[in-house]
Symmetry: C2
Subunit: 269 residues, 2 copies
């Protein structure tokens, strides 16, 4: 009996929809081809498709294809260029990944704000690049200075060096999150329910039905001698809180009512 | 001349601080040892240290250690158990990763809400498990039904299957984000500035200094004949917007004033 199941999932009719045609991921002088493949998979998982490689050490390479799994199209479609300037030529927003370094203060973004900036720039049809440096040394100062913003992925203190593919994953995830948040907002404007609502198969119980349930529960507790109205010990309050916390659906409530009725019958025997 | 540089970075005195002692990442029947290593690195990068492996196919294995890079301690410290029940025994909050599947509706969390739930449970000193399934098939229904919540990482439509290590990365990232957000809130309560403020080495210019600059800019534009007050074409408005967007610091403003003064001197010759 599916009811207010708010549909926010995939549209199988558009499996190859390109969400971010103007956003490129730029990898500078990547050493390990496996990381290129991992980055490609992370990108495609998050709806990104355009990969630009600046002087990769080993490319093309079978390891890049293997690690990309079903994102081999992103690997094969990667543009290879000889300089970061070539990679950025037509870009209107350039964001470079950076360790938090106080020697060259630069407008810094958190990953979430980075995702939002990239999304807004894509919406405005700007060309956008998110640039990742070498596995061991990151981006050089002169490369970082080509960027409008720097982005730093916060880490724990014990180990701050993220794998390159993982860094691409986190920032790509935040770009898609910004897109989905805007989409949910849009849906929320159009309909009563938000796309962030949990899908559920049964209507939730109404407040009225819940009150009937709580009354029924109380009488049943009295009936079975468990609840002493002279010495309540917050029993009903705690039960209310517990049942309200799970937000019962109609079927669950009916089951509980049936259970209580069965107890009542037993008590009257 | 460092001034209002709000300190929010690492504390080198506490490199091995354990942020989430009560949170365990549980990997069920992982096939590739490389994924165990990647997960360990992702965890340690985000301040997580406790890894539990349910029936890993190949473990211990050198590939797990190699892929973990500097998180070999997490790999070596992993607990290996024979059943998910063993892994979850003392857990008070269990969250399982799941594809969005309408056949078994379950309380679903977005990754961000998952991070917040895990963080709050850690704060309350609850034992928490975040459970990841097999590379090819995920978690089985009976495993998912041991969870309080399911979490789904949203993807683009073209390719929805995340690599296991990447999934661990995204959820671990959101757990640390929840911790950092709470920390920033705490710092924000204590001091005027928030920890999310951009670090900068020089004080920002005051509004008064900016106004003097804009006046100086206008007179200079007139002086050099670039600005025609009879036909302004929004020139000053556009310049204001640009410089305000830059949010000049005091040193930058002094440099600009010096530049204008030099132009004035030239014009007066």
């Amino acid at each position: 009996m599916p009811a207010d199941l708010s549909e926010s999932g995939a549209d199988p009719a558009a499996p190859d929809e390109i969400l971010f045609p103007n956003v490129r991921i730029v990898l500078v002088e990547t050493t390990h081809p496996g990381n290129i493949g991992a980055a490609a998979r992370a990108m495609k998982n998050m709806g990104l498709t355009r990969l630009v490689l600046v002087n990769p050490r080993l490319f093309p390479h079978e390891k890049a294809v293997w690690r990309s799994a079903s994102a081999a199209d992103v690997v094969h479609g990667a543009e290879v260029v000889e300089s970061l300037d070539q990679a950025l030529e037509d870009c209107q927003l350039v964001i470079g990944t950076s360790a938090r370094d106080r020697r060259i203060p630069w407008p810094m973004l958190e990953p979430r704000a980075c995702g939002e900036q990239v999304f807004r720039a894509q919406q405005a049809r700007n060309q956008v690049a998110v640039v990742f440096g070498r596995e061991a040394h990151g981006l050089k100062n002169e490369e970082l200075q080509k960027c409008h913003f720097h982005v730093n992925i916060p880490t724990g203190r014990a180990y701050s060096s993220l794998n390159l593919g993982m860094a691409v994953q986190v920032l790509s995830y935040e770009i898609l999150q910004a897109h989905l948040a805007a989409e949910a907002q849009h849906l929320g404007d159009k309909a009563a329910g938000s796309a962030a609502d949990q899908p559920w198969d049964i209507d939730f119980a109404t407040a009225e039905a819940n009150e009937h349930f709580f009354t029924h529960l109380e009488t049943t507790l009295l009936e079975v001698g468990f609840h002493d109205p002279e010495n309540p010990r917050q029993l009903l309050t705690r039960l209310r809180r517990m049942f309200n916390r799970i937000r019962m659906d109609k079927m669950e409530l009916n089951i509980m009512r049936g259970f209580l009725t069965a107890i009542n019958r037993l008590a009257k025997k």
